[in-house]
């Protein structure tokens, strides 16, 4: 028994040293490729002019903090979810509410529009993701048609449909992400690798089927919770926003962080990030009630937008890039 233990301990120590050497080797490899900064490459690029972005629409109706929102592919409808348990579908052009569903739980932290525009998915403290088909008949009780799709062992933090209405990807406070079949409610795949709550997820723009479920890359440079991640439009990079008040851009092919977007005057965390259509602008919603717009290539701040009366909790650019919508703890959404 004792010798077995000793043997195990030795192998453990051996593995530990190997993992240390591998880690430093990784650092070295990554550092070797770090020959230039993104903003240096972008020096010759024309600077962006002054931006005038105004709130065009204010969507009022939620009784409590707006936690999440998503655009429909038709570029005008928005689904939003809030702490009061309500999920509302709006027509952003007219500000009319088209559908409203009351969830049995409060803190609906995630909502997503199906690519077809015919259903919405939402979830939160109930640990589940439910899909509600949207019917044109105003008298129909949407809650009756609800389909429970995902089951996690902790709160649902984010959900997203894949290219079709049939599959949905969810991430949860239990540290895992999972891919589910909507029709049968079956778990198709689960993704492990995070050591703590998964707060946000995003699918690469051209994802046709991620079948491996294995962690291929990991990036660790943020100093605090990462609240939001969003793929760059080309799919080769992604941005993240964190409680450490910075947004960072990571390139997948260079396997490292390539830019940090921060200012000493910004001390509040970023709750949500999204790119403009071309990827030149990065919008960040902050806990100090503002939205900062960054020039992705040059690393400078282009504009700061005011308007919300409480922290900005969610931010998404519309599918055609003509506008972006923000949801906030002040119970409203702005387009």
């Amino acid at each position: 028994m004792a010798t077995q233990e000793v043997q195990l301990n030795e192998t453990l120590a051996h593995l530990k040293t190997e993992s240390e050497t591998l880690k430093s080797k990784l650092e070295e490899e990554r550092a070797k490729l770090h020959d230039v900064e993104l903003h240096q490459v972008a020096e010759k690029v024309e600077g962006l002019g002054q931006f005038v972005m105004k709130t065009r629409r204010t969507l009022k109706g939620h009784g409590n903090k707006v936690l999440c929102m998503d655009w429909c592919k038709d570029k005008r409808r928005i689904v939003s979810s809030s702490q009061d348990g309500k999920v509302i579908v709006w027509d952003a052009f007219t500000t009319n509410k088209e559908h409203a569903v009351t969830m049995p739980c409060t803190w609906v932290m995630a909502c997503a529009y199906a690519p077809s525009g015919c259903a919405v998915a939402c979830g939160g403290l109930d640990n589940k993701c439910s899909v509600y088909p949207l019917s044109l008949d105003k008298n129909e009780n949407l809650a009756a048609k609800k389909k429970s799709v995902a089951m996690h062992t902790n709160y649902l933090s984010a959900c997203s449909f894949t290219n079709s209405d049939m599959q949905i990807l969810t991430s949860s406070g239990d540290g895992t992400c999972a891919l589910w079949d909507v029709e049968s409610g079956q778990l198709l795949q689960s993704f492990h690798g995070h050591a703590a709550d998964v707060l946000c997820l995003d699918l690469a723009p051209s994802e046709t089927g991620n079948t491996f479920g294995q962690c291929i890359q990991s990036f660790e440079t943020h100093e605090s919770d990462i609240n939001s991640v969003r793929y760059y439009p080309s799919g080769d990079a992604f941005a993240s926003g964190s409680d450490d008040a910075t947004c960072r851009l990571y390139d997948l092919r260079a396997d490292r962080e390539v830019a940090i977007y921060s200012k000493e005057s910004i001390i509040f965390g970023v709750s949500s990030v999204d790119f403009s259509l071309s990827g030149r602008l990065l919008f960040g919603g902050y806990n100090d009630y503002t939205i900062n717009v960054w020039d992705v290539l040059k690393g400078t701040r282009v504009s700061i937008l005011f308007g919300h009366e409480n922290r900005v909790s969610t931010l998404r650019v519309s599918p055609d890039g003509t506008a972006f919508s923000t949801g906030s703890w002040d119970h409203t959404l702005r387009v």
Partner: protein
């Protein structure tokens, strides 16, 4: 008991090493190349980006609603 713990730790450590080996063998490109490609993507698509270029008021679906009077 301690034997179990030790073998658990072993399994965890083995997984960690496996993961690191995988990550170490990942093919990487230089930042200069990656950055250049990002920049090119931005520039190529910049003209199509409404938030960058601005949309004429007549096309803007979110322009302030004009009031309609019907008599």
């Amino acid at each position: 008991m301690s034997n179990n713990n030790a073998s658990n730790n072993l399994i965890i450590a083995q997984r960690a090493v496996k993961q690191l080996r995988l990550e170490a063998s990942f093919p990487r490109i230089k930042v200069s190349q990656a950055a250049a490609e990002l920049r090119n993507f931005c520039l190529q698509n910049a003209s199509k980006d409404p938030l960058l270029v601005g949309v004429p008021s007549s096309d803007n679906p979110f322009r302030p609603p004009k009031s309609c009077s019907l008599f």
